[in-house]
């Protein structure tokens, strides 16, 4: 594919970086104002509900990142597409970052809401396991020098991690847990008021732009790294 040639992709990465850097700061300010000032308090949780505006989008992103990584590593295992390796290598640290944010902000939110920072319940534990899967995945491509072994290890972790994604999603339905069930579903209406839904989606957009920014910078770094290796071979 001509479109996926490194030079074409490099041009697109630069355009993407420039575009994102124009929008991210204004969107961040709007999201913060709407999350901290304009959105109402919850009638039970009070102002602590504002933690939701970072906790929930971070959780969505960490799940989506792992699903993408798993899909790409399986694709790489089956078809040996070099570009998928570069993409998941650039994406995994972002997923780890957001799973850490999810755990930390969830723990902070848990203290005023449940009266404890942490409980070993199914939702919390499965999210912690997701973070560990990210660590194992990153270690696999970083420290296993044999390419074939590294790809196999990444694929295995991805498949096991995919099972964990289902456990995370349905843990609140399958087991009795402190964590509330999903308020926003793919099918059916959201049980959250639009005055809270708007800041939530604004924050999600800000986080997605941030992910895009970091991803493109990491992807660009990987391309230059490959080209540097090419220089040494000349």
């Amino acid at each position: 594919m001509k479109f996926s040639s490194p030079s074409k992709l490099f041009g697109l990465v630069n355009i993407g970086l420039k575009s994102i850097s124009k929008f991210i700061i204004p969107l961040l300010i709007i999201s913060l104002v709407s999350a901290l000032l304009l959105s109402p308090q919850d009638y039970i949780q009070g102002n602590s509900v504002r933690i939701m505006y970072i906790h929930v989008p971070s959780a969505w992103i960490s799940l989506a990142c792992f699903a993408t990584i798993a899909f790409l590593s399986i694709l790489n295992f089956l078809f040996k597409i070099k570009n998928t390796f570069l993409i998941y290598k650039s994406l995994a640290p972002i997923g780890l970052l957001f799973s850490i944010i999810t755990i930390v902000t969830g723990s902070i939110w848990g203290k005023p809401t449940w009266g404890t920072w942490w409980v070993w319940d199914s939702r919390l534990t499965s999210v912690l396991v997701l973070a560990l899967f990210y660590v194992a995945f990153i270690f696999s491509y970083k420290f296993i020098s044999n390419e074939e072994k590294s790809i196999r290890s990444c694929t295995l972790i991805s498949v096991l991690g995919l099972i964990n994604l289902f456990i995370i999603k349905y843990s609140v339905d399958w087991w009795s847990t402190l964590h509330q069930p999903a308020s926003i579903k793919f099918t059916g209406e959201a049980t959250i008021h639009p005055s809270m839904l708007v800041p939530l989606f604004l924050m999600l957009c800000t986080f997605l732009l941030y992910c895009g920014l970091i991803f493109l910078m990491k992807y660009k770094t990987e391309i230059i790294r490959i080209k540097k290796k090419g220089l040494k071979r000349l």
């Binding site: 490194p6 630069n14 970072i54 970052l97 944010i101 939110w109 790294r225 540097k228 000349l234």
Partner: protein, 76 residues
């Protein structure tokens, strides 16, 4: 400034620590990623400049090389 905005009815410590933690961690990752990219671009430029004449001629034919060197000054 409304003091309630800071205290958040007693939840200020939890709300602000969550937001500040997220912003600090994201900023740290952004700075580290940007530093790595800039350093790599700089090293790449130095290595290209130090290539022998023959190798340099081969390398100048590559389009990606022009893209990398051109983008060096543009990185955000």
């Amino acid at each position: 400034m409304n003091i309630n905005f800071i205290t958040m009815d007693g939840y200020g410590l939890y709300v602000w620590s969550s937001f500040i933690f997220t912003i600090v961690v994201c900023l740290y990752v952004f700075i580290r990623t940007r530093q790595t990219l800039k350093k790599l671009e700089k090293d790449f430029k130095v290595e290209v400049e130090n290539l022998s004449e023959e190798k340099s001629r081969d390398f100048n034919k590559s389009k990606i090389r022009r893209e990398i060197l051109a983008s060096k000054s543009e990185t955000i």
